[in-house]
């Protein structure tokens, strides 16, 4: 081995070639070692499948009413039937169908909300840190102002002014969450920019865009991945919260928050009306948190190869 490694040139080239397949296999090994990461990905995949293929997964439409079969308990309880595995609600709508279709709202709002928030926030934060000076103040003043407001109150206020629609909810979450991304990005960029490795890269001839592309951006990925995954799971909660007070999507759209709000009146006698959407919210945000943890570990070589 020692003898072989000293040789360089044509031979060593073959030795250090890494194919795409190798990389995929490597990622698989990383995943296999982190069992909670597998759980996170499985949960995530099931929710995505539910959201994408809702039509194929349930014979019912979420708004189909069957008043003859209203308030039917889940199939494993007395009076339940396999036709409605999770029971029906007060209007006889199939709970299973509503939860599956509800994944669309929850995932759509939280994903697009987080992506918009990250796009705005990362851009603002990076400009503030990179340009600095006056621009730093101009950008960060409103950011800090928004962060100083009680978040839910702020969201409720905007939502009640703009009115409820799916697009509005996504935009509200995107805009109101962007300050957090701006703050984190600004701090990280400042830290990276002052680091010794950026200084040494500049001393090796790196231009400013090279520093941005190869040093600042890659080192930002870790903290941002963590933040995005936690923001997504937080937004699932906030969407449900908004739905609960009737300010999220219109009542005609099946969402977990709306289901909670409707089921609240019957919580004493028909608990599954609130338990089922509650479990769906918990399941999804647990999956997002586990997935976020794993992504964070994988994105950082220091935690990637250590024994944990």
């Amino acid at each position: 081995m020692a003898n072989k490694s000293i040789t360089h040139g044509a031979d060593s080239r073959l030795e250090i070639e890494v194919t795409f397949k190798d990389r995929l296999a490597y990622l698989g090994r990383l995943l296999w070692r982190d069992r909670t990461g597998i759980l996170g990905i499985l949960i995530f995949i099931t929710v995505v499948i539910a959201a994408l293929f809702a039509e194929l997964l349930t014979p019912y439409q979420p708004l189909d009413q069957d008043l003859h079969a209203s308030k039917m308990p889940p199939m494993w309880e007395e009076g339940g039937s396999p036709e409605h595995p999770l029971g029906t609600d007060n209007l006889g709508r199939d709970m299973m169908a509503r939860i599956i279709y509800g994944a669309r709202v929850s995932l759509g709002v939280s994903f697009f909300g987080a992506i918009i928030a990250a796009a705005i926030g990362v851009f603002l934060g990076a400009v503030a840190a990179y340009v600095g000076g006056r621009w730093d103040e101009i950008i960060m003043a409103p950011v800090n102002l928004v962060l100083s407001l009680p978040y839910l109150l702020f969201v409720v206020f905007i939502a009640s002014v703009l009115g409820s629609s799916l697009l509005n909810v996504i935009l509200i979450f995107g805009v109101t969450n962007s300050p957090i991304f701006a703050r984190v990005t600004r701090g990280e960029v400042l830290k990276i920019r002052e680091s010794a490795y950026v200084e040494s890269a500049i001393s090796a001839g790196a231009s400013w865009w090279r520093v941005l592309l190869f040093l600042v951006m890659p080192n930002l990925v870790g903290p941002l991945v963590t933040l995005i995954s936690f923001q997504i799971s937080a937004m699932i909660f906030y969407e449900a919260g908004l739905g609960f007070i009737g300010l999220s999507v219109p009542p005609t759209v099946p969402s977990w928050g709306n289901m909670l709000a409707e089921g609240r009146r019957y919580i004493a006698n028909y608990p599954w009306l609130t338990t089922m959407p509650g479990l769906a919210i918990m399941y999804t945000s647990l999956g997002m948190n586990l997935l976020g943890d794993w992504l964070r570990d994988v994105s950082d070589p220091r935690t990637r190869r250590s024994g944990r």
């Binding site: 081995m1 000293i6 360089h8 250090i16 190869f214 890659p218 950082d300 070589p301």
Partner: protein, 346 residues
């Protein structure tokens, strides 16, 4: 566009001949801070001969690093500003003044023709990129070679700086290497494009003594092999003795004494140099003496000084030392000293 600007900087220096490879002339660098203006480098002139190893010694805050960073345009501005002076560099395209070069041309020179090695290898490498990638990045940046060629060259560079199993280490991340190995990788980056000058800013300070010795001998090897001129910034006089050709002693942003290394150790002229050498533990003397320290502290660099900056701490200071600033005067072959006492009474 870069080229025309580079040519402008080129024309600026006049038509003088240069025997040395790098020549600093009357460099003045100041930091404009909230607490006032810090006079970090006060009128520093020096030259680096081709193939020479020049050591710049001085205590912390003496301006040794700042003067080199000024030349390389590595100081953050603001607060730092190179107020005046020239740094003539005998580059591949003729003599240029590094101070006046536009940023783009300067980054072609940095890493390409002048390599830099920093103090702390633990933080000077990008933590999320493999060391091989970081070396080949520098190669593709300056030599314009393909990724594959760069990879091969990087592997052979790793072997050259004494990293075992270079093909394996190519894919290692900085945190997987020891401090000494990281510093070797840093050196590989610095010498990757066979620069004319390597500036090493306290490259062994963060390492333990045995690793220090290894790094020093690596530098000697590379110098012999590549004929590269080296500026070694350090406060370790013991290290300098076995490494440098010539020594430059800095204090309070000024040069107090320059001499060939043997001359400086045998025949130090400036009271400060004498004091520094007296504070050095020695193994080659029979009797055991207490180490001598120099009383007092360096002057506040926010106050402009118009006399000898060492006068406060100097036991030989006389009237003239308090009235005038001494200039470097020759006291022997290649030996200059900025001290009235040494020149007039010594």
């Amino acid at each position: 566009m870069f080229q025309t600007r580079a040519r402008a900087a080129l024309a600026d220096k006049g038509d003088q001949d240069m025997t040395s490879i790098l020549e600093g002339k009357n460099l003045v660098t100041k930091f404009h801070t909230v607490d006032g203006v810090v006079n970090a480098v006060n009128d520093v002139s020096f030259s680096l001969e081709d193939g020479e190893t020049l050591a710049i010694v001085g205590e912390s805050g003496s301006g040794k690093s700042v003067s080199m960073m000024s030349i390389m345009g590595l100081l953050p501005s603001p607060p730092a500003k190179v107020e005046s002076g020239q740094a003539l560099f005998n580059s591949k395209d003729g003599i240029v003044d590094l101070i006046k070069l536009p940023y783009e041309t300067m980054s072609d020179i940095r890493g390409g023709q002048i390599g830099f090695v920093f103090q702390d290898p633990g933080t000077s490498l990008n933590p999320i990129l493999t060391i091989g990638k970081q070396i080949s990045e520098t190669l593709t940046r300056h030599l314009g070679i393909s990724g594959r060629e760069a990879k091969d060259k990087a592997v052979s560079l790793l072997a050259e700086v004494g990293i075992p199993d270079p093909t394996l280490r190519y894919d290692a991340f900085p945190f997987q290497l020891s401090g000494g190995m990281r510093q070797r990788a840093m050196i590989a980056i610095a010498v990757a494009c066979t620069p004319r000058i390597v500036i090493a800013a306290e490259p062994t300070t963060a390492l333990d003594v045995t690793i220090q010795a290894q790094i020093v001998s690596l530098f000697k090897q590379l110098r012999a092999k590549m004929g590269v001129s080296t500026i070694w910034i350090t406060h370790d006089l013991g290290l300098v003795a076995g490494l440098a050709d010539r020594v430059l002693v800095m204090y309070a942003g000024q040069i107090l004494e320059t001499a060939p290394v043997d001359e400086l150790y045998e025949n130090p002229k400036h009271p400060y140099t004498v004091g520094l050498l007296g504070a050095l533990p020695r193994l080659d003397t029979q009797e055991s003496k207490r180490l001598v320290s120099i009383d007092g502290t360096p002057p506040d660099s926010t106050i402009p000084i118009h006399h000898c900056p060492f006068a406060w701490r100097c036991t030989h200071a006389f009237e003239r030392c308090w009235n005038e600033k001494p200039a470097l005067a020759s006291v022997g072959e290649k030996h200059t000293v900025a001290c009235f006492y040494a020149v007039e009474k010594g």
